[in-house]
Amino acid sequence: MNRFIQRWAVFAGLVVVWELLTWLADDTFFPRPTEIATAAHALWLSGPVEDLFLTETVFEHVLPSIARLLGGWAIAAVIGVALGVALGRSSAAMQFAGPLLTFMRSIPPPTLVPVFLLLFTAGTQMQLATIVFGVLWPILLNSIDGARSVDATKFDTSAVFRIPKPQWVLGVVLPAASPKIFAGLRVSLSLALVLMVVSELVGTDNGIGSQLLLAQRSFEFPDMWAGIILLGFLGYAFNTVLLSFEARALAWQPRQERTPATVEEKA
């Protein structure tokens, strides 16, 4: 409860400050949070009772976007972790693929739209490709790093007991790398939201991102901000879910009792 208050007090404080600032500035581009809330309500929560008050827009734009974003992120997670562990544990593979991957990492997804158009059909497939191509890298890089940093003694121990490859990967490398992998997963989860918007720049007729851009172009700034808030909300929600998974997966980590912050004079 205490933590809850602690967490949301800062948030609420910032919202209040924002409200005051926007009220003072009175700028079309920066509507007041209350206006945004009204717009959000009109957009998404003014639907009929049988749909739990959700509007048409939610079913037409929000849910498909979420599905694409989670799908893309999941695909990227699987590819990233698998490839990352493989590359992290095999220096030869890393030498072969390293430069190419760095090269690909530096390519802005928008320039690849024409190429994606050739390889995928526009719409869901292309959007998934864009999201995967964008969010893969934090997972991949962190997995490589995690897989590489398995402690030497643990490597030796597994070698000595002739732990078979699958067990070595699943039972040693993955757990050892998991804190780093989770860091990558968390960075990329919110990146997936960003890329969801980017992916809806081309070849779409629905989605949170396309709605957001449309609102922006039509100077419906409260609607646009409502979209941004929705993204923030989704980001927060997904992140919370991921964190609870993480807490379970990393339960073995020594308890916080002895981390830097707590080893401190209470005097």
Binding site: D27, T28, F29, V113, P114, L117, L118, T121, A122, G123, L201, V202, G203, T204, D205, S210, L214, Q216, R217, S218, F219, E220, F221
Partner: protein, 313 residues
Amino acid sequence: GLLGGSDEQQPAESAGSGKVEKAKIKLGLLPILDVASVHIAIKKGYFQEEGLEIEPIKIQGGAAAIPGLIKGDLDISFGNWVSFMLAESKQGAKDVGGLKLINDGYQTKPDMFLILAKADSPVKSPKDFEGKTIAINTFQNIAELTAKATLEAADVDLTKVNFKEFPFPDMEAAVQNGTVDAAFMVEPFISRAQRTSGQITVLDAASGPTDGIPIGGYATTGKFADENPKTVAAFQRAMAKGQRDAADRPTVEPLLVEYAGVDKETASLVHFGEFPTSLDATRLQRVAELMRTYGLLKEEFDVKPMLVSSSGS
């Protein structure tokens, strides 16, 4: 500097500097055909004659134009009428005295807005669009408005037509690989799609109800217009000459190759639109009407207060 930012330097004292309040104009331009007249005017020294120095700032898409004007990073900018009117109707620029339209820029002629399909497409006539998908560059803009208006005129049920957003450069490919059934294109993409992929015209979206519809022009903020009336007037005079010269194809064609990066072959094929020389409220009101019809504007909108007509030319 090396970063490519604008170098803030005082404009060189030019001949007519005594007359205008601000000699150096930061002008937002899109890399498209529509602004050929500006390049002509610069080349032929029309601005210099008026004591103006133009610093062209390349912007991509309309997204940057209005915020750029509001922030003051652009003094004047090219943009499409729909965006300007939408912004004004939503009071987007109220802090800087609203948006003011100072010059007409570009206007359709037949064969300029074409909806193209693959050569072997089953879509042969507008009626065939029902149940099909058309690529369009941006929703809720001039393309969608004219497409809808002409489709309706051809008796098409709009609720059965899908639109999807694609940037112009990607449309040819999208049509070619069947991602969409047809695409709403402009020059030089039309010429290229016809030439390289043999795509065929299904509908001219700038005909009938939308024949000669204004596309875009030059705007500034109310603040700038109030503070620099002479500058604005000088700009209008120079542009009028540019617009006039732009009607002359041999003058424009080589410029395309130069500033828009269009290859010579395509340049020789493109269909140009009209470069109107005067700003006419009645003509622009047509755009507002279209916007009203298709729900972009919620209420009546009068464009007249937005205009700053050329005083003495």
